[in-house]
Subunit: 222 residues, 2 copies
């Protein structure tokens, strides 16, 4: 285990929860950083809070009011989530979102002299989001290092894993109980709607890993 600290960009979703548990094994101290960016569904932030409380992880929530002002996507505006495959990018793409999240995480970490950042993004099932690719993360890592005159490293433990492999990693890291409290559904529903692209992807991953999704029987994990 490294003796240094890390800041994890933590949405309260399946992937960032797994990334958070990966970071807990790798770093001596972990801070989870969530963003209140005007999500249509506050249930995501509630999941993040619940998981950090359960595992006694320091949790910081930073407000972001700017994406709402920029607008034009289904995660902050009242637009139906697109699941069409014929578009270049789904309308759940918030331009610049991961770049902004990680740059803010770096700014927050810089003030505390922490230079290891962890994110749960992955290119395998990335729904066409260009800000989830390794080359984007490598470039961003260089940009924040140059821009803040520091040596940042962005860790992407899920980058090359498909959803089934992510589920298996979560099991290995003893994350299943935490995943019972994670949130995935784009429609902000619990129990999950089961029909949005995010729910379908999550269900496929658990099915392929032959593990039952703890979210569906949360009462067993209280």
């Amino acid at each position: 285990m490294s003796t240094s600290s890390a800041v994890v960009a933590f949405s309260g979703g399946q992937d960032s929860t797994t990334a958070l548990f990966w970071a807990r094994q790798k770093f001596s101290k972990v801070v989870a950083l969530s963003f209140d960016y005007g999500q249509r569904h506050k249930i995501e932030l509630e999941s993040a809070k619940k998981i950090c409380k359960l595992y006694e992880i320091e949790h910081i929530v930073l407000p972001i009011n700017t994406f709402n002002a920029i607008g034009g996507n289904s995660l902050t505006d009242n637009i139906a989530v697109s699941s069409e495959k014929d578009k270049t990018l789904p309308n759940s793409f918030v331009p610049g979102r991961n770049l902004i999240f990680l740059t803010y995480a770096a700014a927050w970490a810089w003030n505390r002299q922490i230079f290891d950042l962890v994110t749960g993004v992955g290119h395998t099932d990335y729904s066409g989001y260009p800000d989830c690719r390794q080359d984007t993360m490598d470039s961003l890592s260089q940009t924040i290092s140059l821009g803040m005159d520091a040596k940042f490293k962005i860790h992407t433990p899920l980058m090359d894993l498909d959803k089934a492999q992510t589920v298996k990693l979560a099991q290995k890291l003893d994350t299943l109980k935490a995943l019972a409290w994670s949130h995935t559904c784009y429609n902000g529903e619990f129990p999950p709607c089961g029909t949005c692209p995010a729910c379908i992807l999550r269900a496929q991953g658990f099915a392929q890993a032959q593990i039952s999704d703890p979210l569906l029987h949360r009462d067993k994990y209280t």
Copy 2:
């Protein structure tokens, strides 16, 4: 002149005003984008509004509440501006500020299919800010292009100019009248305090260019 549009990151200060006028000559349409990031002094945003109104330039103000939440610098917190030269970075450095501004500008521009961004940053007089260097801007340009799957270009017309050369460029671009309404003073004062690092740098530039600062006799430019 290019037939394309550009978005200019516009603070209402001397440099971004000059960059805005540079962009007006280069692009057929220019949008000025300002950020309300909890500056201690709203006079900067008022300058930006006044200049855009005078010259009939489309002006967008995006709110940013996150820097205040991150804290720890003299531009958003109630900390005296440091002018000490022995520190690595002055305490007016807001970590990630220019990276965030330009990434938001890119996100805003992306929604409107604009891919030319203009900023007034320069390394010559950059007060030790690492996010004002060309290598940072080059890396950021690559990061936003990868992250939004588009071909962005960040134009930095003042990058290699010292303050005197910037003043001469402003004169050449007929920007002096607009500069009468620009704001520079870190202490938010008008008439400017004359003693903060920003006021001193501005005064030196005009003195070296042998041009009288129009800000000091604004009444002549109404």
